[in-house]
């Protein structure tokens, strides 16, 4: 399926199942057969069940909480409120602004107010019903535009409640405001009058101007394994927490202060993770379970139910965007302006970083000499929003790609030609002034995508009346009436790894020893396997680097240094880099040992050595010694070589608060999509016929897993294009269930042709590029463009709703 352009980074590994192969996942069989233990499957004989009382109001003052009746219920061991939080009463990923348990006020519907531990989940549930909370309901603060721009709008967090963050210009309901100014707009960065004049001049110069407002709805990560974990009190007064998360150490960093414990007394082990996509970056039940375990002296397990899960994690920021683009008649872009407001909801979570991405990538990978961006992340009393695959770049991508299509139409150009005309490449500078100092074969990708074979026409199908091939599917709404085909393109630029000055690193411990006559490598990291397949990649790297087939992956826990988050498409790069670095150190030690023990012939100390097939091999003399002989059986006092190494990517910097300039990103990734859709234009229903992609990944580490990432990312983007939206009205979620929050089924998911390019990044391990996020950006605008092509409708809201297609106002 995937055709691949081979390059010099190709590793001709002699070790089976090394880098570039597609070995089976170590946890694959268990997952397919249903035997894998997810975090919700954990069980201990004497454990208690935790449950959470949540606010029924989006915004209310709390005048009192009475737990007396709940405590009286037999089987209830503890009922805790904010008064029982032993340490810091607030936590947070970037800002410490979220109460462990609400006090004074609740700021979103579903906010945790009290927690219960009981001997049965039903008992815990009944105890929740007996807790009396005295609320004074306040009006919701739900309009993100007013939160960004109206100084009179009520504050979600009253002044003085939170620590100041001057680096983000925080004020009022603004979590972060980030401007970017280039060209004519940079001349007087903060003078609105000067901007207006510059804009008038540019408009006059342009042959075509398109101005549009777009909206991206609140998408849910829709992982299948709900928030869950178990806390076990320890004899040393600490706690051991087994939890499904994305970053063990950042959890530990937030949990320990809330418990009033030193970090080392809060030990975390990764439990089986049923999907993440960003939703597990923030804490959910972690502190609550630990508090209850420490209070009761018993293990406490939490499992959110599906509805609760919709309130229990952050979502993708909904965005309101105003774009204006001006171009010359030949398609050359002259200027672009963007106002983007992302709604962070009640607590900051990752909002500042999302604004950093949305602003810096707000215009996309296009050469534009004059740019004006105003990006706002705001507090409201809506559900909190934070990390989700694509992280601020998804929202902007829908906007700028829609603009490219409108502009192409306005100028009578093919949408691919307009993009080619303004395409960035290696050496280009994005709007922050950062140079793209790695390959960016955007033009090649666009051309390859355009030239991919088209799917067959409906009339050429084996059975055109098969309902499964038609919009509406098996519900039988059409036999072909009203069905129109459309084609659309989309591409997106994504920053990979952490940005804006964060010292991003990962740690790996690698041990080589001989067990039962065979060399064995143990790889130990704290990196979260969330389904993406890092667990396979770590083994492949160890095999390739150490020439040893047998690799054991230790469980991820906090007994080794931080691996950073399984986010930002960064783990193959970062933890892959750490494993590789640790392996290199182990290998050097092995060679040193071989020299010391006299296995390297005299006078040939400088000859290059390698580890292959469990042996030390010289480029001149061939096999020198087997690892089994060199190291000796570890159980019989043989040599164990163990190294722990950190891997840091190159430093980045904050973009400045005035002009938004600076090299804030580590790496860039891109995917180009072409979508073909059949639309029932009378009913507003869509069938995606094909969703083909071209992506440059620098280096294919595991072809099968890579295809899975691209298919999955494309499908998540399809969901955002056509159906996935948490509908929020007056700060309340209208569809907190998988009955009404729809994600694509197999009948909604088309065949995908995937064309993978490998232009290596000189800065990254193996030349690889993070691959998980880029397809999530580009598939949404490609599909919406295809629906526009079929219907002629403007379609400015993602997801497209049937009403938008048939022209009913919402």
């Amino acid at each position: 399926m995937a055709t691949t352009t081979r390059t010099v980074t190709d590793l001709t590994s002699t070790t089976k199942d090394g880098v570039g192969a597609s070995p089976r996942r170590p946890d694959g069989t268990l997952k397919v057969t249903g035997e894998f233990a997810y975090s919700s499957d954990m069980w201990m004989e004497d454990m208690l069940w935790g449950a959470t009382l949540r606010s029924p109001h989006p915004h209310a003052r709390i005048h009192g909480i009475d737990v007396t009746e709940a405590l009286r219920l037999p089987g209830v061991y503890a009922v805790l409120t904010h008064e029982d939080v032993p340490g810091e009463k607030r936590y947070g990923l970037e800002y410490q602004d979220q109460p462990v348990l609400a006090f004074d006020k609740v700021r979103y519907k579903g906010e945790a107010v009290a927690i219960v531990a009981a001997d049965h989940p039903e008992t815990a549930r009944r105890a929740l019903e007996r807790i009396e909370v005295d609320y004074e309901v306040l009006p919701p603060v739900s309009d993100s535009r007013r939160a960004a721009l109206d100084p009179e709008y009520p504050l979600v967090h009253e002044k003085g409640e939170l620590p100041e963050h001057p680096e983000y210009n925080q004020s009022g309901n603004r979590v972060r405001y980030q401007p970017i100014r280039t060209g004519a707009f940079a001349e007087s960065p903060s003078s609105q009058e000067a901007h207006r004049e510059a804009l008038e001049r540019l408009r006059a110069e342009a042959d075509a101007v398109v101005t549009t407002e777009y909206e991206v709805g609140m998408q849910d990560q829709a992982f299948l394994g709900p928030e869950s974990g178990m806390a076990i009190p320890a004899e040393d007064g600490g706690v051991d927490l087994y939890v499904a998360t994305q970053w063990l150490h950042v959890d530990q960093r937030q949990i320990a202060p809330a418990l009033g414990l030193p970090q080392e007394k809060v030990r975390l082990t990764l439990a089986g993770v049923g999907g993440a996509f960003g939703a597990r970056e923030d804490l959910s039940m972690q502190i609550h379970a630990c508090m209850l375990a420490l209070r009761t002296g018993k293990p406490v397990k939490f499992v959110y139910n599906r509805e609760e899960s919709f309130y229990g994690h952050v979502h993708r920021h909904p965005a309101k965007m105003r774009y204006e683009h001006g171009a010359k008649a030949d398609g050359t872009l002259l200027y672009a302006t963007l106002e983007i407001i992302v709604d962070g909801g009640a607590y900051a979570s990752a909002t500042p970083a999302v604004v950093g991405v949305a602003s810096s990538l707000g215009i996309g990978p296009y050469e534009v000499p004059n740019v004006l961006v105003d990006a706002y992340g705001v507090y409201t009393t809506n559900p909190p929003c934070g990390a989700m695959r694509g992280f601020g770049a998804v929202q902007a991508c829908f906007g700028y790609e829609s603009q490219m299509d409108r502009l192409a139409k306005e100028l009578g150009m093919h949408p691919v030609d307009l993009r080619l005309k303004n395409a960035m490449a290696q050496g280009s500078r994005i709007i922050t002034g950062q140079e793209i100092d790695m390959p960016l074969p955007m033009a090649e990708m666009l051309e390859r995508c355009r030239d991919l074979p088209m799917p067959v026409e409906r009339t050429e199908l084996e059975d055109p009346s098969d309902q499964r091939t038609l919009p509406g599917g098996v519900a039988g709404t059409t036999r072909g009436e009203g069905v129109v085909r459309g084609v659309g393109y989309g591409l997106g630029l994504k920053n990979l790894c952490f940005s804006e000055g964060f010292d991003d690193y990962s740690t790996a411990r690698v041990r080589l020893e001989v067990v039962a006559g065979e060399p064995v490598v143990l790889v130990h990291t704290a990196a979260a396997e969330v389904g993406q397949g890092l667990v396979t990649i770590k083994g492949q790297i160890a095999r390739t680097e150490l020439g040893v087939e047998k690799v054991v992956i230790a469980p991820s826990d906090t007994q080794v240094g931080s691996a950073g988050s399984s986010s930002a498409s960064r783990q193959s790069y970062m933890t892959g880099g750490a494993v590789r670095t640790a392996c290199a150190s182990v290998r050097a030690e092995v060679f040193e040992l071989a020299r010391r023990k006299g296995f390297v012939p005299q006078g040939r100390e400088d000859v290059e050595l390698a580890l292959e097939g469990g042996k030390v091999v010289s480029a001149v003399d061939g096999v020198l010694v087997s690892l089994a002989e060199l190291l000796g059986e570890s159980a019989e006092n043989g040599t164990v070589v163990e190294r722990t190494r950190e891997y840091h990517h190159r430093p980045t910097e904050m973009i400045d608060p005035e002009l938004g300039q600076g090299s804030s990103h580590t790496q860039f990734g891109m995917c180009v999509h072409r979508a073909v859709v059949d639309v029932d234009v009378e009913l507003g229903l869509v069938k995606v016929v094909a969703l083909d992609a071209v992506q440059d990944v620098g280096k294919v580490m595991h072809p099968q897993q890579l295809a899975g990432q691209i298919q999955g990312g494309s499908t998540q983007g399809l969901g955002l294009a056509l159906m996935e939206e948490i509908q929020v009205k007056d700060s309340e979620i209208r569809n907190p269930s998988f009955t009404d929050y729809l994600i694509p089924t197999i009948l909604d998911t088309p065949p995908m042709r995937i064309d993978v390019l490998e232009h290596p990044d000189p800065h990254s391990p193996y030349g690889l590029r993070g691959a998980g996020e880029p397809p999530t950006l580009s598939s949404t605008p490609a599909i919406v463009a295809a629906v526009r092509d079929a219907t002629g409708r403007p379609l400015t809201h993602a997801p497209v709703r049937p009403e938008d297609i048939v022209g009913i106002d919402l």
Partner: protein
Amino acid sequence: MEFLRPSTLVEALEARSAHPDGVPIMGGTDVMVELNFDKRRPSALIDLTRVPELAEWGVDGDRTRLGAGVPYTRIIEHLSGRAPALAKASRSVASPQIRNRGTVGGNLGGASPAGECHPPLLATDAEIELASVRGTRRVRARDFYLSFRETALRADELITAILLPAPTGPQQFAKIGTRNAMVIAVANFSLALDTENRRVGTGVGSAGPTPFRAEAAEEFLEAEFDWEDGRPLSEAVVTRFGELVAAAARPIDDQRGSAAYRRHTLAVMARRALSWSVTDYRKGSTRCA
């Protein structure tokens, strides 16, 4: 909560009589969701999966007698000729796993206005058999739905069977959902032409507090349809039929769709279903399809 497992119909009726607050359960695809979401805590669950009569279908004179506990999968496999509209509706229900468990009896017991079975039962003038220790009675589907989630079923009765008239003309079913499978209806519609009695039957779901018939549309079409030869209808007639179906709706705005969209789709579905029926009628194929 008591969990009762009667193994004969007599036992089941006695259990029902003894537990008027209990909830009968068959496939559990509705009931278990309500229990899991804590929306219901009945005093007893009456498990009907062991009652053999409920899981059978057969012939009853010129009608098909469908046990209330026959899962959708078997309706799709066996009844696409005897009950085309109901079989089409069954195909559109949820996922394969749910279709293996879910039943028409459960759909009727839950009486959600969005239930897929209701429009075909209304359009084809099916009867519903209700049994209790007091005896058995039959209620026309057209008299079954009283108000939102309220039906003619009495507290001591079980839904035992559905009686489906033999089709004498084309039958259609269509359902709107914003996903191509496994979706709750935004609106659904069924049309059945009874060529022997020259009657038109309609059924509409998810567009009012109960499933309902579009009676004005039925009367209009009965007068306009060419019962002799099934000649194509004028565009004006087809359009008018769609308008009358849409006009009968009392839809709401909710998270699944707006009232205006629901009305709009009913008109489109009604027009299309009518056009398909004319085509099918002229082919003469549906009578023994």
